[in-house]
């Protein structure tokens, strides 16, 4: 074993690389000797939070992961569900928060690149992406820079690939000022029989590296960027910025799918965090085999790279394949056709050991499974955060609500507020149509993608209101799920499975870990109530800056299924005379609401209550009516409440409405309370009775609140605002904010 470390240095280096001393001891115990430099680097990355989930794995066991549709649950590069007729859909969401905080364009771009590789690694053709974003408020130049850069990067990468970005979400709040969140979700489609797993097998088979050259970029990326808190030292971490090459990735997609179609590969894996080390060791441990790799065979971008640098480099756009010797020539021909490098760098062995050579000297030799599976698992201490008592004890009812003659202005202010205003400025920078599957474009509750060659479609949405999670992580996580489900239901999709991206602060702080645990518990209960499993996900910890954790942000990416693609709905009101029906009931719930933030500047109170059973019934009712073809438009109530929902329906449909809101509540409450479980649908006078019958049958409270028509939104005794004014408030805000106006 070369470059063995002496007893002095080894533990020091280990700590420098982010390992704890007892973790270092465990490595020595595994090896029965001190590690070499290369081994230490490999363990430090594989045992980092980012790769090992050592703080989160136990809590994640709470989540349901099985169901009739599930072909592949968590554990592979992406989860896969069956959608009928032999078609399967793969999807996953992942964070690229810390790289984006350093270089927004490249950070966000490589985030998209990484999640898309996870999809086609499974044998699926990527057909859509969504992006879930969080920034500080845009009155700060740095935040505008991060926001503009991230959006440009997501578009720059996805547009070049020809994978449409069809949806997402964005929130602006001081809580994210020092630590923006860039979560990207990607979705792919395949024939069930093409499902491929990253499992190495077949002693003597060849390990082939496909794609880009290997440089020093991203070295230490996974550990230094994803597993350390952010602070002023962020600057020092800059050298490890990775630059994405979407063109190379496009070639990889085409070549890899062609290789899999032709059955030329035994296994395929992508190189993500911790590069060659993680993809190779995970492949080996899944297959229970060993690997023998020679780093001098790896095509290098920079001069005299060290073995450990090659093993942990995070150069983008690289894939690792296992190929039978007799198929090598054919496989390399496919790569060459697409103008891609493909290099044999090693072979599969029966030793169970991961051996790394530099020419003929062995620089690392460890049991492969110990890298991927033997990281220590922790049971972090938990403690309910002290702040909760203060914020929850706040009673919004003491706040001076807008008077009856201010309601119109208040609605306009809400429509123009950063967290509610139109997101058009974002999605128009994304190609959201390429591949001709996007049946419902951005601007409705969920995007709808048809599945060519079938009569079916999927509906997708990402959601999470971090304020609710801050005020009550358990409820907040349930609401995140419920909103995603409502959004998908509003398009006509029946929820099938979710992916999640759990963004939290430092899990070693008991108060932070408590919010993590409660969020996972909430998500788990919501999944069980809807009988919808989690098939993939990602945990991003250490989202803090200057010691302050971000809001707990468990983002949910939900995929629903439409049996008949022509039976889908959109947000906008359609025709004069259609009846407007509100499903679900409204309570006095202004805690954590946009109205409270607007008039009081505070984020406080209890978030809206949620009845998961009722939520599920409301979704069922809407889906059922859409399947029967009796609903013309559907839009749920979220931020800004019923008032904002009605306004958005008018703007999207470019037609007015008249409504009467009965009930004992203050007008401002009926308009802007953010009670959950509510969906506004429209139907013709005849069909309206079908909708109300359905509601009765499912014992869902409903109210016929008015009808579509005219050119203003007029709510009796409350407000009367021309649709043009609503649009003027809703549309231009984001662009103005970006320009610092």
């Amino acid at each position: 074993m070369s470059e063995m470390l002496d007893a002095e240095i080894a533990p020091k280096l280990a700590v420098e690389l982010g390992l704890k001393l007892d973790e270092y001891d465990k490595i020595v115990e595994i090896l029965g000797r001190r590690p070499s430099v290369t081994e230490l680097y490999m363990y430090s990355l594989m045992w980092s939070e980012h790769c090992s989930y050592k703080h989160s794995r136990k809590a994640l066991k709470m989540l349901p992961t099985t169901g009739e549709h599930v072909l592949q649950g968590p554990g592979e590069n992406a989860g896969v569900i069956s959608v009928g007729d032999g078609w399967a859909v793969a999807f996953k969401m992942e964070s690229h928060n810390h790289p984006s905080a350093i270089e927004p364009y490249q950070g966000a771009a490589t985030g998209v690149g990484g999640i898309i590789r996870d999809i086609f690694t499974m044998g699926a053709r990527p057909i859509a992406s969504l992006d879930s974003l969080r920034f500080g408020t845009l009155d700060k130049a740095r935040q505008r820079y991060l926001f503009e850069g991230s959006v440009a990067g997501i578009g720059g990468y996805g547009n070049c690939l020809g994978v449409p970005t069809v949806g997402g979400e964005v929130y602006f709040d001081e809580a994210y000022e020092g630590n923006c969140l860039i979560n990207a979700m990607s979705i792919g489609i395949m024939r069930e029989e093409n499902l491929t797993r990253a499992t190495a097998s077949g002693v003597g088979n060849l390990i082939v590296l496909i794609g880009s050259t290997t440089g020093r970029d991203g070295i230490g990326g996974a550990s230094t960027l994803a597993s350390q808190e952010f602070d002023e030292k962020a600057e020092d971490k800059r050298p490890s910025v990775q630059v994405g090459d979407p063109f190379e990735e496009k070639l990889l997609i085409e070549a890899c799918l062609e290789l899999l179609d032709a059955k030329l590969l035994v296994a395929l894996g992508d190189l993500g965090a911790a590069g060659l080390t993680s993809s190779a060791s995970e492949m080996a441990s899944r297959g229970g085999v060993g690997l023998d790799i020679d780093v001098t065979k790896v095509p290098q971008r920079e001069e005299n790279m060290k073995a450990f640098e090659i093993m942990v480099s995070e150069s983008q756009e690289r894939m690792l394949a296992v190929v039978e010797p007799e198929k090598l020539e054919a496989a390399q021909a496919v790569c060459a056709k697409w103008g891609l490098r493909s290099t044999v760098i090693g072979k599969v062995t029966d030793t169970g050991h991961f051996v790394v050579r530099e020419g003929d000297t062995v620089v690392a030799d460890m049991p492969a499974s110990t890298l991927a599976d033997d990281a220590p698992m922790y049971d972090p201490a938990m403690e309910r955060p002290a702040y909760l008592d203060d914020v929850q004890s706040f009673d919004p009812r003491i706040v001076m609500l807008p008077s009856d003659d201010e309601l119109g202005d208040t609605l306009l202010k809400l429509l123009a507020s950063p967290n509610i205003c139109s997101r058009r400025w974002i999605w128009e920078q994304y190609d959201h149509q390429v591949m001709l599957n996007t049946v419902v474009l951005p601007g409705s509750d969920a995007a709808v993608l048809r599945i060519k060659g079938t009569n079916r479609a999927i509906a997708v949405s990402t959601d999470c209101n971090g304020r609710y999670c801050y005020l009550d992580p358990y409820l907040g996580a349930q609401i995140a799920f419920a909103e995603a489900a409502r959004n998908v239901a509003c398009a006509g999709g029946r929820p099938v499975a979710i992916t999640d991206c759990l963004n939290f602060g430092n899990p070693e702080k008991p108060e932070v870990f408590w919010t993590f645990y409660e969020s996972v518990r909430g998500l788990s209960d919501a999944c069980k109530a809807f009988n919808v499993p989690v098939i993939s996900g990602n945990v991003s910890f250490y989202n803090e800056s200057f010691g302050q954790p971000i809001y707990p942000t468990p983002t949910v990416g939900l995929v629903g299924l439409l049996q008949n693609v022509s039976r889908h709905t959109t947000t906008g009101f359609k025709d004069e005379g259609d009846v407007i029906i509100l499903l679900g009931d409204t309570r006095n719930e202004l805690g954590g609401s946009e109205l409270l933030k607007l008039i009081d500047g505070s984020v406080a109170g209890m978030p809206p209550s949620i009845d998961l059973w009722r939520e599920q019934q409301v979704c069922e009712a809407v889906i059922g009516c859409i399947e029967m073809g009796v609903v013309k438009s559907a839009h749920d109530c979220s931020e800004g409440g019923l008032g904002v929902t009605l306004a958005e329906c008018c703007i999207a449909g470019d037609i007015g409405a008249t409504a009467v809101l009965e009930g004992r509540m203050r007008p401002a409450v009926s308009l802007f309370s953010e009670s959950q479980g509510r969906i506004v649908v429209t139907a013709t006078v005849d069909d309206a009775t079908v909708v109300t019958l359905m509601a009765d049958r499912l014992r869902i409270p409903y109210e016929i609140i008015g009808q579509v028509g005219g050119d203003s939104l007029s709510i009796k005794d409350m407000l009367d605002v021309p649709v043009s004014e609503l649009r003027e408030a809703h549309e231009p805000t984001l662009e103005r904010l970006v320009h610092g106006e």
Binding site: S212, F247, Q316
Partner: protein, 80 residues
């Protein structure tokens, strides 16, 4: 009227996909003698007389270059 020429290039170690693509394209066109192509920015700046090079460096740091991945060189130009 003073003039400055600014040369913006990637820091060493930062990958330059357009350069790599140009390199391959030239070789495919038969220019096999090409061994490397790096593509950066060439910025010609016209400013009021007396503008200091420090001031221009400031503009580069703030807007004309991305200090995270790029470095720049500034050259005052004598007007012909």
């Amino acid at each position: 009227m003073a003039r400055f020429d600014i040369y913006v290039t990637y820091k060493s170690g930062i990958f330059d996909p357009p350069g790599a693509t140009a390199e391959r394209a030239l070789q495919n066109l038969g220019y096999t003698e090409v061994s490397s192509v790096k593509i950066g920015k060439f910025i010609q700046l016209k400013v009021a007389d007396g503008t200091s090079i420090e001031r221009v460096a400031e503009m580069c740091g703030k807007l004309l270059a991305n200090p995270v991945i790029e470095e720049y060189r500034i050259e005052p130009v004598e007007e012909a």
